[in-house]
Point group: C2
DNA sequence: TATTGTTATACTCTATAACTATA
DNA sequence: TATAGTTATAGAGTATAACAATA
């Protein structure tokens, strides 16, 4: 087997695009967008600062301000102030946000689960075996 | 190893989100957006109809009209009419579009190639072995 | 002066609804 | 009447630049 990182990158990029398109086609019309769900997911482990959220999601601060504004208007998150540093805004999941996060995740995952169920056990095993390596792309 | 499609879907979805974020962070500021590059890529094998392009990219016709308008203004694609059916608009890559496609792809792929180069040969092999199965998610 | 966050403005991507032209 | 495409309008997501408040 050829072990050229550049060729692998091209192939991987192509598959990635296919899957992203597939998921998008299957999840249009859901009440929460992928980004909103993603932000809510970051808050699952506890409140976070605006700047941390922005960094984690690879967006600028004003972008996160907009997203948090909308989530706050929808009642899914709440803003708070840091006790030690009055400049810092913290964002926390509300009970309703917690519920919607669970629902949204289920809806998105259900589609993928169906597709995985249609694969052979060998195919599923191949994908499962690759996930740790894919995760290592983040911190090489 | 656990072979539950639902669990695999959750894990896969998580990795997918990570990689998408990673690529986005690495490719902001490039002259061509991911969608523009994607549309140009569809035209590489020859001219296509508007409706085919829209279907392939999982978007509505008006969305594709907008994207093609911009690409046409930028000189990267050209519109044509079908000889047999006067309603049909065909879209073709221009020479400049062909060049920009190659450059854009290289820029995007170069980032991934670096990350792949930092993995071990075993990790690359695991990912390469999973790509066919991932491709099969499209047509289960 | 540096950091945290917001506001203002603009561009891309997307959708639905209404329209034109052709079959 | 049905199909291919466009125009009009709206909303989400993103960015940069300019600003306020706090450290």
């Amino acid at each position: 087997m050829n072990d050229d990182p550049a060729e692998l990158a091209v192939e991987f990029n192509r598959r990635l695009r296919e899957v992203v398109l597939l998921v998008r086609q299957a999840t249009t019309g859901l009440p929460l967008t992928a980004q909103q769900l993603s932000v809510l997911g970051s808050l699952e482990s506890g409140p976070r600062r605006m700047s941390d959220l922005a960094a984690e999601h690879g967006v600028r601060q004003p972008t996160m301000t907009v997203q948090v504004n909308r989530l706050e208007e929808a009642g899914l998150v709440s803003r708070g102030r840091d006790a030690d540093d009055a400049r810092v805004v913290t964002v926390a999941l509300t009970d309703e946000g917690c519920r919607d996060l669970a629902h949204g995740r289920r809806a998105r995952t259900a589609f993928l689960a169906e597709r995985f169920a249609a694969l052979t056990p060998d195919e599923r095993a191949a994908i499962a075996a690759a996930l740790p390596a894919i995760g290592r792309l983040r911190a090489p």
